[in-house]
Symmetry: C2
Subunit: 654 residues, 2 copies
Amino acid sequence: MAARSPLKNRVQIQKISPMVDCGRYAAKAVAGDDVVVGADVFREGHDKIAAVVRYRGPSDSGWREAPLRLDTNDRWYGHFHVDEMGPWRYHVLGWTDHYASWLDGLTKKHAAGQRDLDPELEEGALLLERRKRLPKAARQVCDEVIALLRGDAGLDDKVAAAVDPDLVALLERHPERLDATQSRPDLPLWVDRERARFSAWYEMFPRSEGATETTSGTFAEAAKRLPAIADMGFDVVYLPPIHPIGRTGRKGRGGPHDLAPGPDDPGVPWAIGSEAGGHTAVHPDLGTIDDFDDFVGEARRFGLEVALDFAIQCSPDHPWVREHPEWFKHRPDGSIAYAENPPKKYQDIYPIDFDTEDAEGLWNELRHVVEFWMDHGVKIFRVDNPHTKALPFWEWLIAEIRVDHPETIFLAEAFTRPKMMQTLAKLGFNQSYTYFAWRNTKHELTDYTVELAHGGMVDYYRPNFWPNTPDILTEYLQHGGRPAFKIRLVLAAMLSPSYGIYSGYELRENEPLHEGSEEYYESEKYRYKPRDWNRPDSLAPYITRVNRIRHEHRALHDLRNVWFHHIANEQLICFSKVAPGRTEPILVIVNLDPHHAHEATTWLDLWQLGLEHAGPYEAHDLITDTTHIWHGPENYVRLDPDVEPAHVLSLRAL
Amino acid sequence: MAARSPLKNRVQIQKISPMVDCGRYAAKAVAGDDVVVGADVFREGHDKIAAVVRYRGPSDSGWREAPLRLDTNDRWYGHFHVDEMGPWRYHVLGWTDHYASWLDGLTKKHAAGQRDLDPELEEGALLLERRKRLPKAARQVCDEVIALLRGDAGLDDKVAAAVDPDLVALLERHPERLDATQSRPDLPLWVDRERARFSAWYEMFPRSEGATETTSGTFAEAAKRLPAIADMGFDVVYLPPIHPIGRTGRKGRGGPHDLAPGPDDPGVPWAIGSEAGGHTAVHPDLGTIDDFDDFVGEARRFGLEVALDFAIQCSPDHPWVREHPEWFKHRPDGSIAYAENPPKKYQDIYPIDFDTEDAEGLWNELRHVVEFWMDHGVKIFRVDNPHTKALPFWEWLIAEIRVDHPETIFLAEAFTRPKMMQTLAKLGFNQSYTYFAWRNTKHELTDYTVELAHGGMVDYYRPNFWPNTPDILTEYLQHGGRPAFKIRLVLAAMLSPSYGIYSGYELRENEPLHEGSEEYYESEKYRYKPRDWNRPDSLAPYITRVNRIRHEHRALHDLRNVWFHHIANEQLICFSKVAPGRTEPILVIVNLDPHHAHEATTWLDLWQLGLEHAGPYEAHDLITDTTHIWHGPENYVRLDPDVEPAHVLSLRAL
């Protein structure tokens, strides 16, 4: 037998949570979180054990620790506070608590009326005696207890001294860890700023602001729109690509099948690059880089952050095509391969060839692009189709950027198969698009939200719910009228801590390219689209109210806290969120049918709402500013979509 | 940027199964198995990928491999055959299949009617041309195809040559793995002999055979019982400890509370050790070690294996108490600590102190005990209360024994919390006791079996179902009469590949120590218990039939294949098992109510039974040897417990 200490690794530690793919990837949190850690911790026999989570942040020179407490069935939980962005690590440490084990036996025997406990008391004295390393004051307390245990006090007094809570607390503060097990490997945790989890996005094409049908708007014009966006309560203004647009293969204003652009048709912003420059240039029609800087500064003045699109693809006119032909795939005839999804062809786009022999040059240049815009005040990037680029590149890029800029946020725009979407989040993307746009029924919305909030994904995948995008005008919005826009807004904004809308939503733009298509008619992707923002029927006031509710109620800043309650109507959905400690509950009830009024009785899980001991309670509707007095789990609700399709209720025990 | 090859780790490999605790522990299989391996495998974009599982057994000098095939949603499956006991390892390898990707694009364009595919065809020729390392014959085939692709054949002929299945198969046999990802770490798999999974156990106290109320039986007498046990169809005869029994603190024949043993009371076999010896001695009343060897030889002659009890505890009279006092915990007064579960005291048992400073000596001696009995032909050990011994010890012991004796089987007798029971299996125990004895209702039996068979446990935890043990006479057996014994036997034997009974079961011994107790009245643990095995009402013929069914039907040798079917009566349970490929289905229907007849209609999942395309099929009852013709999923069943409480049906399409 190899020499081994019987006192090591005596405690089993298994199934630590959070843990993403065995620790291969980092779990995520935001600064200010109390990160909850769980683990199965146990050992043989009846001895008592103790456990802590040990953790260290980027500025820590050593491990800090926080206690774990037994929940049930050998599962322990504790939490630690993360107060700094960047990479954290943690592990669990468990050991036998010999004093607690001894105390447990002593008190059981004492309680059973056994009087001859001198050997037991001496065992306790010996346990205290061997604690040589205690600080002086603690050592003194122990010595006093030892003297008492060995002295001529009565048995009851001796037992009372042994169980004294101050002594027990003192020993817990200075634990004796003779046989400790440390979980391996250390698990990674990435801590973001809060914006990475809680954010309301507004997507706009700056070229449409101040535009005509044939002339482009500018950054300067677009900046005039910022106060209104801020007033609506958004946090992030996201701009599709602002770079020069190629001429070769340009699509006309007619849409995706219009291959004959007019001279004034501006082309698709994602066809990046022309003789005016590539990924680090701004479209001359929008202004100069200084104009962009002004736009960012103006946004900041109104409390908005600017998010840019990062789309790794080139128009045939992009400077890289000339300067770095090796970054593109060449056909046997020497031509560059355009994008294809056979038999479809996209002649206006050259994809980057991540199999290039010059990966080092390519990757560095792409990093340079990101850093260029960071130097211009951009900290948020919405990444276009990341699932069509080499995954090792994303893991490298995000890690590189984070070294000096942990505040950077990357949103993955991948609408693809689930495991790819999950993996992009694992690789480091801070937020991710979702299937929300196509989840309409109560069953679909419940299942999908539960999967995101109560499955393993919540540890690393931060959903960003979009009711619409320039590519997605859902059938529900096409046909549901004004109520549909309110319904989908409330669902997105209340279910997910991060959500966004594409501009025009407030004007209820709902005309598709053709029946059965999710493309917009007269899509802004292909043309300038000046709008009348001041239309009296705009949903802006409604959006403003929804965003204010989000900001004012902590419960809406998280996802793990969502809970679905029974309501006896398939067209009504009822869910809640609570602030930490099951406080400040928000209850949302939405009529999913934009065409008809529905009524039903709730069956609320009062425990989840922190109202299990409440009598009557106040349900204050934050949308309509009306108040009802409710009682217990059953309450009658009626929602007419033509009046208000949703209740957003702040509940308060009376 | 650090130099990195863009061609490495391009493919994602995640969530490999089986995988126990991230590979910390080995999954289990038995020699002859086709081990099914699953993994999420995918990459960015639309390129085609390929994957294999690579594996190596104890005698392999390199990796072997088997293909994985895409199932659905990026999940791939394959299997490899394990033909040898011992430690195996495996990992998954995935890579981009450039030829298949090219072929996919070519055939789509061709199918869409595109005729100008010369550049595409040249790309294919170049892909084939770069395959320099192919064997000569394969190289020649490629050269022919290249010539054809570049020649003046028609487009259709060129495409036909490119998709030729022989060419594709040839390229698959010699894959080009430019950007392969290899999963890490290699995952461990432990391969046992089949007995580790499929076994029927019979527990007997040899001292009762040929005994009187006051005199012990012997190995020689017990050996006479072996033919009958073999005739019943059991594989393993398990003996409680056969060692000398201590005198100090001996319990009398009256049972656990009888502290005044008579001179002829034999004591409890688990109070191991006297002046006659300890764990490597046999009780003098049973005979000599030579008599034991004869018993083992006789068992082998009848196709039975002998399993011994390994109980790491000592009577105060055990030689180790004198020879190794350091292996026991001493009280401050110098006495040795007896076993306690405060306030209960077990003065007749000294537990071993795994915290001893002489762990090396202790562990080696315990290994020596196991090896001693292995030298006497024992390859199976039923380990008593392993959850009260240091867990690192078990992991070490089992690994040590396996180095030279991979055929050894350890059964963990732990009736304790779930995670401890699971962990013992992870540490290496080949089989485990379960909660089966206390799962009586349809809901309980279904849930528990599904947890064992279709959760993660099935990869490492092999249940052994016992309807009774010397410690467990369940309420169900106490009150259910003869039908109860048949019901629990059929359930144990049909649900679990391994099961066992404690002798006396065939005689339906059902009298408890007192109402509400699971202890037997006049328990054999405390006394000799001669029995009349030839009673005409013995269940031995029924047991014989059940065991023969088990042996003759492959479906019953596995656990993963169990499937529960709907049957519209809460007192009837209906489940099936099938041989590989959904063949040779066995359907079991049991009336769980031992007191009343019940009837209902089945709703069989015909796909699970491999009968989805069948017309009428034969249902042959292997218990009663009667045959019914059944149709479709719905069939009427009536089971009267006083006639036969269970159908065990072999189904066969007509």
